[in-house]
Symmetry: C2
Amino acid sequence: MAEKILIIGGVALGPKAASRCKRVAPDDEITMIDENTYISYGGCGMPYYVSGEVQNMDSLRSTNAGAIRDPEFFRKMKGVNVLTRTRAQKIDRAKKTVLVEELLSGEKREMPYDKLVIATGSRARVPEIPGVTLKGVLSLTRLEFAEEIRKACEGGKITEAVIVGGGFIGLEGAVALADMWGVQVTVIEMMDQILPGVLSPTLAKIAEHDCRSHKVKVHTSEKVVRLEGDGERVSKVVTDKGEFPAQLVLFAAGFIPNAALAADAGLKIAPFGGIETDEYLRTSDPDIYAGGDCAAIKNIITGKYGYLPLGSMANRQGRVIGSNLAGLNETFPGYVGTWALKLFSLSFCGTGLTAPQAKKAGFDAIGVCIEQLDRAHFYPEKEMMTLELVVDKSSRRVLGLQGACKDGDAIKARIDAVAGVLEYAKPTINDISNLEVAYAPPFASAMDAVNTVANVADNVVSGRFAAITGDEFMELWRNRKNNNVFFIDMRPPKASKKIEAEYPEWHAIPLEEVMDRLSEIPKDRPVALVCNSGLRAYEGLLLLNNQGFKDVVNSMGGMQAVTKMGLKP
Amino acid sequence: MAEKILIIGGVALGPKAASRCKRVAPDDEITMIDENTYISYGGCGMPYYVSGEVQNMDSLRSTNAGAIRDPEFFRKMKGVNVLTRTRAQKIDRAKKTVLVEELLSGEKREMPYDKLVIATGSRARVPEIPGVTLKGVLSLTRLEFAEEIRKACEGGKITEAVIVGGGFIGLEGAVALADMWGVQVTVIEMMDQILPGVLSPTLAKIAEHDCRSHKVKVHTSEKVVRLEGDGERVSKVVTDKGEFPAQLVLFAAGFIPNAALAADAGLKIAPFGGIETDEYLRTSDPDIYAGGDCAAIKNIITGKYGYLPLGSMANRQGRVIGSNLAGLNETFPGYVGTWALKLFSLSFCGTGLTAPQAKKAGFDAIGVCIEQLDRAHFYPEKEMMTLELVVDKSSRRVLGLQGACKDGDAIKARIDAVAGVLEYAKPTINDISNLEVAYAPPFASAMDAVNTVANVADNVVSGRFAAITGDEFMELWRNRKNNNVFFIDMRPPKASKKIEAEYPEWHAIPLEEVMDRLSEIPKDRPVALVCNSGLRAYEGLLLLNNQGFKDVVNSMGGMQAVTKMGLKP
């Protein structure tokens, strides 16, 4: 039976659901409304449009074949009726109607539905502080804003910009402005690290160093208190710690799901504001679906409602909703939290929980880091990769994996290999040790980095070695006057001797020499080991343990990790 | 309790097991014997040494830090005793001894063990035909051979080479010789495609075209019958179809597990010759372990014993055996069959079963192909990717995924994402549609290629469209005089009109025009559609089906796939 379907929101999930439904049930009558002018665009492409990497804005809203996805395209090619500049004001669930306002004419009318889809997206979280309405204060949430920023950059009007929030969009914006337009960018993040919730403090330090070494200033634990203007335009950002001149301020301090319409209609809303959905992506009203940035879905690892406003999530959910509108019975499994971010020299990628998140969720979690080449060490082209596996110590369950590499596809490969297993199985450390990933020397080491990080986690969790992170190692080193720690650099002498010459407390004892030089190492002091990547020092640690040294720690990721964080002895 | 452990074989699994065991149980007494001189080397690196990409052979047998892994290294750094040029002749399971011969002196003696590891590897399958003992007839199974080939290339002695077998090693050898040394390489493969068992006929055609367009001759369904010499050296290869001059012949027609020692000792051997192992990688004698190229392990998808002689498998298995030697109780899950291969322009990668393999294993299998960009279509750098998902039609279970892309890491990412799920879950099509892989425009489309291929498989299996492969489409086109098929190219006119001008039976009807030009399409003839990637023609097919056209097929992967196979209208 043909149904009347109304879709509120036409950016990502809405068009996907509409097109999929029409392909399966061509007789259904679908209307999609959106309050803005542009619909069906790749919102995630906005930073690349701002940077100029994407030259033409139309390519963000065109098909692969170059057709612009405007209302006429949807009418003709998809059989979907689209009304833009049309805002949904109220859902009447009893009558199954939506009151809409045509924004240009101000006219209001009721639209009936058999099935309704709420795809209202999200908006940038903007704090209620003075100055947020000044010109030049924007977010990267709408094509119109992206256009405005790009034009201002092209016109040379922006020499300094402040980005409020060090999450995905904030940092993508920072790269776009700094790398491509040479703008002096300052990122202000309220939390004590950038990418909170998606990176461990250690990996975040690597990301911060990548930003800083590309001239982006990163200020963490700092809060914007007001914006000041030069006439109508913003000219300065004032924080609780300082002042920053800025001709452009981007708010990227998180997103708020647009759930008011749903809440007013009495639909269940999750504590953080997203519309609660079940495995069929239905709201608490079975005739109303919700998905994308306005919805809350179950986190597969914690079992709790969570929020992952990504275009990929919206697209996949849109297809499931479209199928179900058409009478199929498809389910969406929830999410584990998989993401990717290209910064300057490094790309970052992750899935599942970070160690701090996992602890918050009640797990006895630890993050174990490695540095390993993404290819066979004898293969000419290769990059060092950082991986951090998050595991529950008592159950040995794997909860997440995050990492960084110069080669973005190489890090995506490792993360995605684990993402699927997190989504559909409850992997243990042993499962990831034996994860059967693709191997040949141009693609990986025979023991792939993703296997190695699980092997190291196995050793740590089994108590075979005491591990500290590179930043913890350097903290011990900084406090060496007080902590009585004995430091050993187990790398070949070429690397270690130079540091030893400057700091005699930095003992250059290569792994090969350690058994012959045991007498130099005090048995009554804690010992901290470091090498290039953590591997040699692990072997050294085992040798020392066998010789009766009791309090030896190894710095995970070795000097590779230390250097990536911008730290120095 | 410290145990006496004897390991037969010192290339990949042996050293790994020995090192791991010593790290966990340092008191164990380990001896590793090998009949050759070189031990613990990256055998998979040999093609890259032959090509010169790996400059120095020592880098194939050195650690990341540059230490050569010779017997002295194992003694000093790992506490493992190594005897090279020492061959195991007979295992006495009752006495728990192995009779060994020192090859240089001819001396024999018995070595006792508490636990034994058989890691005897494999050898190249060489047919019993005249001429195989001529000089210049080699395989890529030993460092000594790689050295000989490289020296001959450097000396300009090789202008023509024949490679017998179009599997991984054969093709890696072909790339090394053709790409780096300009040798005229001919690959002779007995089966009717290269990479049989790991690629579908369609993907194999793409691989063959990549070889041919880089001047490697590929002869399939052809059998070598004898080699002829010019004196001691090989000079010609004679097949059942022709003759090929060659100064070098490489046998790469598969590997035979070296299992005679185990068989003689009465251990269970799989039908194809590998030593049967259980989940702890024990043979039928619980005091004897086996792994790597000499062993048979369970295929997780078919449940039957199979064979996957890869360095990565040997390394992962080596760690499990090492753990178990040391008294831990670790399991190995079996294998799904994940691999990677870099050819010339393209890298290939796969996991699980191909459609022909799956049918042989009793599944009602079909392979569904797509062509999709590896990144957002608006992102400046991107490559077209081929993916083929293998599914069981009745159960909708996913059995495998293979693919190709210019960017090797990008294809590895898609394959590995599915590999882990195949290993630890029994994914359905819907699971892969919703596989939560990492997304941002520099890494993927919002609907990742791996999601799309599952979506297309869903549509095919649900009967929403009739799919043919690009080669099947071109076969219909070639036979158009007989089959009465009506051909429609749904691409934008720029691409299709040129072909139509030459062949009037090639009808250029862009998707946008199809509804206005229905009268041009006969209802009483089969219709075959093609577009650029398969997407537009799918929409066109749905439109035609809705208009009452009953017999319409769509060419999966469109002209992208056709062109990659080297086919032309």
